[in-house]
């Protein structure tokens, strides 16, 4: 029982990342009808927002400390980060420690801006072009973004540790009388993802803006004829989708050190998630994300890998193929989406 729960938990954090990226992909596809191959790159840019903030906060100046001496008797040089000098050592150390969660704050405006610029500058011109062209141009953009990040940050993964308070493990089964020891940050990630997903759904469901967007998804032309500037709202939705991917990336850094090709690794799987969930269905994307994450974690158990070697590597693709052959619209796909 404990081990089953543990596997479900294991699946939840990866599933959260899948769900968040797939949610953004579906938002873009549902509103603008564009398949965004650069969405993985947005996830990666988010992760590198955290990396940059961490580096920025660690910028330091050197002072000569007369009280400490090295073994030759010379005074030691001590590095002090600027933030510690400005806000005092305690607050400064706290800020550096909490770099990853703080990066969320800078990632939101950056990702909104990136999404806005991307939509207005590039994708806008591709609405009338065939889907193949949209795939190709966003694919090219993904390569460019990836290479730019590689140029500035190098090819190796960069460690982004979580805050000390959220590092380490906790026995979360204690309250239930079970023994489930689990890394705290992964639980944080799952809660964070749930929060974002809930926020997006609430935003679409309960605000006027969300209502108009949903109406636009159902029938863009009619909404336009009613005198509503639907393009503008869709652009904002693109920005929000980019921000969701970026935030997912920021928080994923401590789980898996970011490198420049992490986006593409996730993108391929997220596409599979979208297809399994049903193109254009937001709940489907989230459901399929968590489902496939959990399935993957079950397939990674020793029992599964000894029964069928390597099942953990291919399970997601196998499921996708089976789903597409039996339910071509995916788990919760709507009729009439992408059926031409």
């Amino acid at each position: 029982m404990d081990s089953i729960l543990l596997q479900i938990l294991n699946g939840l954090d990866k599933g959260s990342a899948y769900a968040l990226i797939a949610l953004g992909l579906t938002l873009i596809f549902g509103t603008l009808g564009v398949v965004n191959f650069a969405h993985g790159a947005l996830f990666m840019i988010g992760a590198f927002c955290a990396v940059s903030l961490q580096r920025l906060l660690n910028l330091s100046f050197e002072t000569i400390d007369e009280t400490q001496k090295d073994f030759l008797g010379n005074p030691l040089k001590v590095k002090t980060p600027y933030v510690e000098a400005w806000f005092g050592p305690d607050v400064g150390a706290w800020i550096i420690d909490w770099a990853v969660p703080l990066a969320l704050l800078i990632a939101i405006p950056i990702m909104l801006a990136v999404g806005y610029i991307m939509e207005r500058g590039l994708i806008k011109h591709f609405y009338k072009r065939p889907h193949a062209d949209q795939i190709l141009v966003t694919f090219g953009l993904a390569i460019v973004l990836q290479e730019i990040v590689k140029y500035f940050f190098g090819a190796n993964p960069i460690q982004t540790p979580p805050p000390d308070a959220l590092n380490g493990v906790a026995n979360i089964g204690a309250a239930l009388g079970m023994d489930i020891v689990y890394p705290v940050w992964r639980i944080v990630y799952f809660c964070f993802a749930t929060l974002i997903i809930g926020g997006i759904f609430a935003f679409l469901q309960f605000t006027t803006f969300g209502m108009v967007v949903r109406a636009g998804m159902a029938d863009r032309e009619t909404v336009g004829l009613l005198g509503i500037n639907i393009d503008r709202r869709f652009t904002i939705m693109f920005g929000i989708a980019a921000a969701v991917a970026g935030l997912a990336g920021v928080m994923y850094g401590p789980i898996n050190p970011p490198n420049y090709h992490m986006g593409m690794d996730f993108l391929v799987l997220s596409f599979v998630v979208v297809v399994v969930g049903g193109m254009g269905s937001l709940p489907g994307a989230v459901l399929a994300g968590f489902l496939l994450g959990i399935l993957e974690s079950f397939a990674s158990t020793t029992w599964a890998t000894t029964t069928i070697p390597g099942i953990n590597q291919i399970i997601i693709y196998l499921v996708a193929i089976i789903v597409l052959l039996t339910r071509p619209r995916g788990l919760m796909g709507r009729k009439g989406v992408m059926e031409d």
């Binding site: 398949v35 590039l122 011109h125 072009r129 065939p130 889907h131 193949a132 062209d133 795939i135 190709l136 141009v137 694919f139 090219g140 953009l141 993904a142 390569i143 460019v144 990836q146 290479e147 730019i148 140029y151 593409m264 391929v268 596409f271 599979v272 979208v274 297809v275 193109m279 070697p309 390597g310 590597q313 291919i314 693709y317 196998l318 996708a320 193929i321 597409l324 052959l325 071509p328 992408m338 031409d340």
Partner: protein, 400 residues
């Protein structure tokens, strides 16, 4: 000639001449001159031009004619490579059975994948092929290389070892891939003054195979079958309403292009008896898409041009480092020289992929027809400049 009309025959002859004389054409600079680094006439690179040319021509039969964008074609290339190396391991280093098996296995594999993926079209198809290719990559990389059943040799890559059976390998046959004793590595170097031209057996084997593959592609493009595929591209729904089942046609196109990819993979193994899983990764699939788009989708010569273009610049650009740049801009004042080098630096050397990505985006945005369309536009512009007055009015474009 060969059942082609006059225009296609001349195209075929031009391509044949270009490939046969490539060692001369690609080596325009004397070996000791400073421009020698732009020479591309060495065997390894020329073989890659040809092999990727075949790959792109095959991809174009699917994408250019039917409009189905496959993002998983590298899987067939990898399967071809693996089966060729297995032939080397089991039979002998003769390349004919290896290439034959590569084509057959890739064909069967693409039949399987095509049968499943072609149930969906558009984006679904792209994603499905991508998923299949990634699955094949995962299979080859880890799953099929366990000690009990080692088909792919995992990360190391499949290669021929001394204790392999090689039951047909003759006593005095070369210990390298060969064609009835003619080693693929044997190279004759002709020195004319300061120039050196390499004539490589492997290159010419590839070239002959490519000519055959190219000829077949022309025949497919001009056949009623090719016409049917184009009809699928322009309006599949209407085809279905006329009571015609398009799936056998698209499946045939998919299998043919898969076999081209297998042929390319087999040739790759024949030139260098190694097969690794990274050949199947989605970046490799993306590369062939780039080649086809860059050259010109749906044209005969476009994919070959695109493949040559990308492979040439990949080699040349990645060789340019800072010291070479400083050499070029030495005539500028010092500060300006450094500034120019700093600006160019991210785009050359290891940053070649950045240049490729930007180039690819520009082509997709401004020149959807690729290099071929660019050439046509240029030719039209030059022709029209001569006779600005007589604008041919009422000129109709043939419907797609």
């Amino acid at each position: 000639m060969f059942g082609l009309d006059k225009k296609d025959t001349s195209l075929l002859i031009v391509v044949a001449l270009l490939t046969l004389l490539a060692p001369f054409i690609l080596n325009p600079f004397p070996t000791d001159s400073g421009l020698a680094q732009f020479n591309a006439g060495y065997p390894d690179l020329m073989q890659r031009f040809i092999i990727f040319g075949i790959f792109a021509v095959g991809f174009n039969i699917l994408f250019g004619l039917t409009g189905y964008l496959s993002f998983g074609h590298a899987a067939f290339l990898g399967v071809g490579s693996y089966s060729a190396v297995w032939m080397f391991k089991l039979l002998s280093y003769n390349i004919l059975p290896a290439i034959a098996l590569a084509v057959v296995v890739a064909g069967l594999f693409s039949l399987l994948i095509g049968y499943v993926s072609l149930r969906r079209s558009g984006i679904y198809f792209s994603i499905l092929t991508l998923a299949f290719a990634q699955m094949s990559f995962a299979l080859a990389y880890s799953v099929l290389s366990n000690p009990k059943f080692n088909l792919t040799n995992g990360e190391t890559g499949l290669q021929v070892y001394n204790d392999d059976p090689q039951i047909l390998q003759g006593a005095n046959a070369p210990d390298l891939p060969h064609l009835f004793g003619l080693s693929m590595r044997s190279t004759y170097t002709m020195e004319v003054g300061p120039w050196a031209f390499d004539f490589n057996a492997g290159y010419y084997v590839c070239a002959v195979i490519m000519m055959i593959a190219f000829y077949l592609a022309i025949r497919i493009f001009r056949s009623p079958f090719g016409m049917m595929l184009r009809a699928v591209k322009s309006n599949q729904q209407r085809m279905n309403y006329t009571g015609l089942n398009t799936r056998p046609y698209t499946l045939a196109a998919f299998v043919i292009s898969g076999m081209y990819a297998g042929l390319a993979g087999g040739l790759m193994a024949a030139m260098d008896p190694l097969a690794g899983a990274e050949r199947m990764q989605w970046t490799a699939s993306g590369e062939v898409v780039l080649m086809t788009i860059l050259g010109g989708t749906g044209t005969l010569i476009g994919p070959v041009l695109g493949a040559g273009f990308i492979k040439y610049f990949e080699n040349i650009f990645s060789k340019i480092n800072d010291s070479v740049l400083h050499g070029w801009f030495a005539f500028l004042p010092d500060g300006l020289e450094d500034a120019v080098v700093t600006i160019i630096h991210p785009f050359v050397g290891k940053g070649w992929h950045l240049t490729l990505g930007i180039l690819f985006m520009l082509v997709v945005i401004f020149l959807p027809g690729g290099l071929v369309e660019g050439g046509q536009r240029l030719a039209k512009w030059i022709r029209n400049r001569g006779k600005t007055e007589d604008k041919t009015s009422g000129k109709t474009e043939p419907a797609e």
